[in-house]
């Protein structure tokens, strides 16, 4: 039984502050490793999920999206925006919250902040994909775009793959300095670079994670050699890409959920039937990942609902053993389930008694 019968009105809530408490209590790298394990478990039972491309509402300056999925036990969804211009006014480019519910009753069982959790799950997913796709014994990762996601990427790749050399580049040197400073005590050798060309030198893995909502060419084909893994994170909505088409044509492309990635990912630049491999099929062994050392692999990551589901499930499991949540009075719980009006009426009478 998932619901607490004595508190049917209550939905546990993990605030931003409590998300930080949970993550710091366990340790960021440990959390990244564990979330990746939850995602890997869920990707292994991919076919048991109810899947749909996210429902996006586009406006002039951004997008608001709902990303639901469910298995037979839990239903989860995430609300997330993407507003590149927000940063200039001191707001988050990407802010999110999410919910886990009990499929059997339809009742919510946890509401959670997901701005921090999305940063964690995105990095965990990238590192999980790289575990299957990156060159063996990868040590050096380039990160192009040193914003809010960059440190999480660095730590996830350290935790899951043992990456210990970072080459950082951003068009804004302040962003690079911020990233380098934040993780200076994590055991990386860090090189701050002045150009993309400098940044990609000697990289086993190239992570692109920029935020502009437009078709950019962060990487051109002649900057990329062979035997590299490209982790393309920033291109994640229609009209927002980071890689030159020629790179795509020269890479073996791996995606989360093709119906969504063809709309939102780097492959929106390609024909609708361009061959791609689903990551979950590599994870379960149905398809091959990296096969030879002249191959370039590309993980065209856009973020899929199952990853959020896994992350919410992870936080839900952690929350059980901690005091790091609050109780929200969110679901009406009348004495008799059909008597919603009676609940109002009895409260009215109680207020009137108090006032007399």
């Amino acid at each position: 039984m998932i619901l607490d019968r004595n508190k049917l009105n209550v939905v546990p809530f993990v605030s931003v502050n409590n998300m930080m408490n949970i993550v710091l209590d366990i340790g960021v790298e440990h959390v990244l490793t564990q979330i990746a394990a939850y995602i890997e478990d869920d990707f292994k039972r991919w076919e048991s999920f109810d899947k749909t491309p996210r429902l996006a509402s586009h406006s002039h300056d951004g997008v608001i999206e709902l990303m639901p999925t469910s298995d037979t036990k839990f239903y989860g969804f995430k609300y997330v925006n993407g507003h590149p211009k927000n940063m200039k006014s001191g707001l988050q480019t990407v802010a999110a919250f999410g919910l886990l519910a009990d499929v059997d009753s339809g009742y919510p069982i946890m509401l959670s902040e997901m701005t921090i959790l999305t940063a964690l799950r995105t990095a965990a997913t990238s590192a999980l994909a790289a575990k299957y796709l990156a060159p063996k014994h990868s040590k050096t990762m380039t990160i192009i775009g040193n914003g809010a996601q960059s440190e999480f990427q660095a730590l996830a790749f350290k935790a899951l793959l043992g990456i210990d050399h970072l080459r950082l580049y951003d068009i804004d040197p302040d962003a690079t300095n911020k990233c380098a400073k934040n993780i200076e005590d994590k055991g990386f050798t860090i090189v701050k670079c002045k150009s993309v060309e400098e940044a990609v030198i000697g990289a086993d893995i190239i992570t692109t994670v920029t935020a502009d909502k437009q078709n950019n060419t962060i990487l051109t084909d002649n900057t990329i050699g062979q035997n590299v893994h490209i982790n393309a994170v920033g291109g994640d909505c229609p009209g927002k890409t980071e890689l030159h088409k020629d790179i795509l044509l020269r890479s073996d492309i791996f995606v989360e959920y093709p119906p969504q990635t063809r709309i939102e990912g780097e492959i929106q630049q390609l024909n609708h039937d361009h061959p791609v491999t689903e990551l979950w099929q590599v994870i379960v062994g149905k398809k091959q990942g990296r096969t030879h050392n002249k191959q370039n692999t590309l993980f065209d990551s856009v973020g899929f609902a199952i990853e959020d589901f896994s992350a919410l499930r992870y936080i839900y499991d952690q929350m059980q053993n901690t005091k790091f949540c609050e109780e929200l009075d969110m679901i009406a719980d009348p004495d008799q389930p059909r008597d919603v009006y009676g609940m109002l009426k009895r409260k009215d009478q109680a207020i009137k008694r108090l006032n007399n």
Copy 2:
């Protein structure tokens, strides 16, 4: 400016208790009238909304749905379940919460319980439709199905149309007794009936609002005369209908949003191209509602996202002037927007200082 720059992490939350406080402070009938006015206003600018059928996740015992919509200023969505079996275990058949967000930034501006609010908006929508469709000078309404929605229907029709005679029927007499008792002080003449046939005698308006998830025949064609308005509320998902097909064929049918109603409404029983009229077109005067006194009109109500949007907008406006909300720490707000990791790191340092 919608956002409070000094509290960018905060989303105001209207709990179940505070929703009751707001509704009782204003008065239920007044709230129903005002929500109907907000819905009417929004239906008048129907074409300015971003519309989509709700996103439904069906499971063995029920459904969980997300219902988003937006105009150029606000984005709103509702989470709502439908689990008929819940009642037997003391849970709500329909529980809901919703969110209003600022389109410009993508930031949430209010989270609210919506179990009570959905009951209010459903009744307000029914009465609004009847204002345009029911026989003039209607006085008597039959309500078949006397569960959680029934009192709200009665009060909305009293407030908007002056209905003062009620004929109640439910397969469970306890439900009828509960409904009658709850509104005994509201000035209605109430007749508790023992059958559908008895209940519909002399009715100007027949409201059906039962909860079973199956194709039922609550009303057969020979129970219905002419010059009545049928307000069909309970048939609202695939495989869940209340009326015999012959009633539909003999009525002029009005709906909220055809792409959704054809899947979920009574008209799922009809051909895909059976003519229906959109309620908003009647409200703006583009189409006719009731035209003669031998006509049967049918409002095939399934509940559409714009109604929830209007209801949330209404509560948002009321909340501004009251203390009836709480503050949720829901959106990460680092000192620098790109520095989510730095926020974690500084909290870690603060915890360590405290522990030393």
